[in-house]
Every structure is written in C-alpha cells, then in structure tokens.
C-alpha cells in the first residue's frame, strides 16, 4: 500500500475526533475523542517513518503514546474529583477554575 493511503486515513480519523470534541458534552467522551486525534497523529508519524525508512518517527509515536497516557490519567482524575464534589459531569457547567 502506498503511504498516501495511510496519511489520508489518518486525516479522516483526526477530523472525526475533532467533530467529537466539538459536539459531545461529557468530558469522558471528549477525552476519548482526544485519544482518536492523538492516534491519528501517531498513524501519520508511523506512515512518514515508513516513507523515510528510518525509525525516528516510531520513537516520536511512542513518546506521543506516553503523553496520551499522562493526559488520560490527569483527565480521569479531574472527572473523579468532579464526581466526588457532586458536580454535573458536563463540560458546559464547568466554566471556572476556582477550586
């Protein structure tokens, strides 16, 4: 398969993830959609790594996976804290930073 196909597929997945971030209200689903976008980036990085024939892009993708895991942990921690404080799990109602 040509590398082009993979890159276009990754663009499509990225666009779907962006649509999800814009239209969903639950922070949990928004995190899932962010995962989609990060994975689309990973796919593009690995496709370009294959195109150039060296492994640098794969190391980048690995680092992106680490950052995504950190983001998930922090995001889920915030959601659990919101639940503990009996707040609505809805991004529209969380509009101030004061703790």
């Amino acid at each position: 398969m040509n590398v082009e196909w993979f890159v276009v597929l990754s663009a499509l997945i990225f666009a779907i993830g962006a649509a999800g971030v814009l239209t969903r209200r639950s922070p949990l689903v928004i995190l899932l959609c962010l995962e989609l976008m990060l994975n689309a980036g990973n796919l593009a990085l690995i496709a370009f790594s294959r195109m150039h024939g060296n492994g640098d892009g794969q190391v980048f993708a690995l680092i992106v996976m680490v950052v995504a895991a950190c983001e998930v942990v922090i995001g889920l921690g915030i959601i659990v804290a919101m639940y503990r404080r009996r707040m609505a799990i809805d991004v529209d109602s969380v509009s101030e930073l004061r703790g």
Binding site: M1, V3, E4, W5, F6, V7, V8, L9, A11, L12, I13, A15, I16, G17, A18, G20, L22, T23, R24, R25, S26, L28, V29, L31, L32, C33, E35, L36, N39, N42, L43, I46, R50, M51, H52, G53, G55, D56, Q58, V59, L62, I63, M65, V66, V67, A68, C70, E71, V72, V73, I74, L76, G77, I79, V80, A81, Y83, R84, R85, I89
Partner: protein, 208 residues
C-alpha cells in the same frame, strides 16, 4: 500484495467504524468499547507499516491498560446516557461541518504536497525495522533526553492524579479522629466501672 490491500481495507474500516462509534454512540460504555475496536484496527495498520513494536505496545498498553482505566471510571461515575448536545443547535451543525472542512484541507495538503515518496510504498527496509531492538537502541542513544523527560512526565502525572482524585477532607480526618479518642479516653477514666455506657455518654457530653 493483494492480501496486503485487503488487510489495509479491513483494518481501515475497523478503525474508521470504531472512530465513528466513539463519536456517535450515546452510551459512554459503548463508546469506550468502540475505541478499543478502533485501537485494534490501528494496531493492524501499524503492522502493515512495519512498526511491530508499536503495534504490540498499542494492543498491550493502550487497548489493554489505558482502556481498563477508562472502563473503571465509566463504571464509577455511572456511565449515564448523554444526548449529543440536544439544546444547542449551533455547535451540533457546525461541528461536523468544521470536521469536514478540516478533512478536506488535510487531504488537499497531503495530496498536493511535493513529497514524491508519498506515492510509493516506501524504501526497502531490513528485517530489524521497527523491532524492539531498533526502538530501544534509538531511545537510549539518539533520543535519551526525550526518553528521560517522558519518564519524568509519567511520574508527575501519577502523583498529580493521586493528589487530584483523593478525598478533599482527607487532611482533617486524622485530627478529629484523635480528638474523639481523647474524649473517649477521658470519659473512660472518669467512670471506669461502666466503660461501655460511660464512654458513650462522656463522648456525647463533651462533644455537644
């Protein structure tokens, strides 16, 4: 060659279907399960791109560990059904339009780019391309600093998650518990012949 194309389309459709499911399914639990299907499809695509180690890491770490974390939180907060933005009609229409425009822009940027190698399957690579040995060598030689930074980031995230998700009253509880013990002790000393009733009565008397 034919088998490779077939595998690409099967895995691509699985990944795309999973992505659509994440965005459109109402139940959060099903959204997470759909993301797992998406990740498995992506792992097959990684294998087609000769990234064996990343495909394995994707399945084990992402589809395994991270998604279990998601499922735990969905189960914890109840996973109620959520309508896809029912009342605010503007974003509901503009979101998919924006996504479509974004995709068209990215596709034009990719197809119109002057990268001549984009139209090929990539150069011939050796047996060890994308193997754990190659990734490990790169991580410990050329990318040692990003590697260490990533490990530090993981540490910070773990500590941050514990701090954020802990009970807010956690710091005050030991103090009040100690106070209760003190009160109980003193009431025990007051009337040692009736420890049970004395302790209860004494605590009540001092507390209020």
């Amino acid at each position: 060659m034919f088998f490779e194309q077939l595998l690409f389309f099967v895995a691509g459709i699985l990944a795309l279907g999973g992505a659509f499911g994440v965005v459109t399914l109402q139940n959060q639990f099903y959204s997470v399960l759909s993301l797992i299907a998406h990740l498995l499809g992506l792992a097959v695509l990684f294998l087609l791109l000769r990234a064996e180690f990343l495909a394995a890491a994707q399945v084990v770490v992402y589809a395994g560990a991270v998604m279990v974390l998601y499922l735990f939180v969905v189960a914890y907060i109840g996973g109620a059904d959520e309508p896809v933005r029912p009342e605010s009609g503007v974003l509901r229409v503009l979101g998919p339009v924006f996504a479509l425009v974004l995709f068209l822009e990215l596709a034009v940027a990719v197809l119109g780019s002057s990268l001549s190698a984009l139209d090929t399957t990539g150069p011939e690579v050796g047996e060890g391309f994308g193997s754990p040995a190659q990734i490990g060598e790169l991580l410990l030689n050329r990318f040692l600093l990003p590697f260490e930074a990533a490990s530090f980031l993981l540490l910070v995230a773990a500590v941050g998650a514990v701090v954020m998700a802990r009970k807010r009253r956690g710091l005050e509880e030991p103090e009040s518990a100690l106070g209760a013990i003190e009160v109980a002790k003193s009431s025990l000393i007051d009337d040692p012949e009736q420890p049970g009733r004395g302790a209860r009565g004494g605590t009540a008397g001092r507390a209020y």
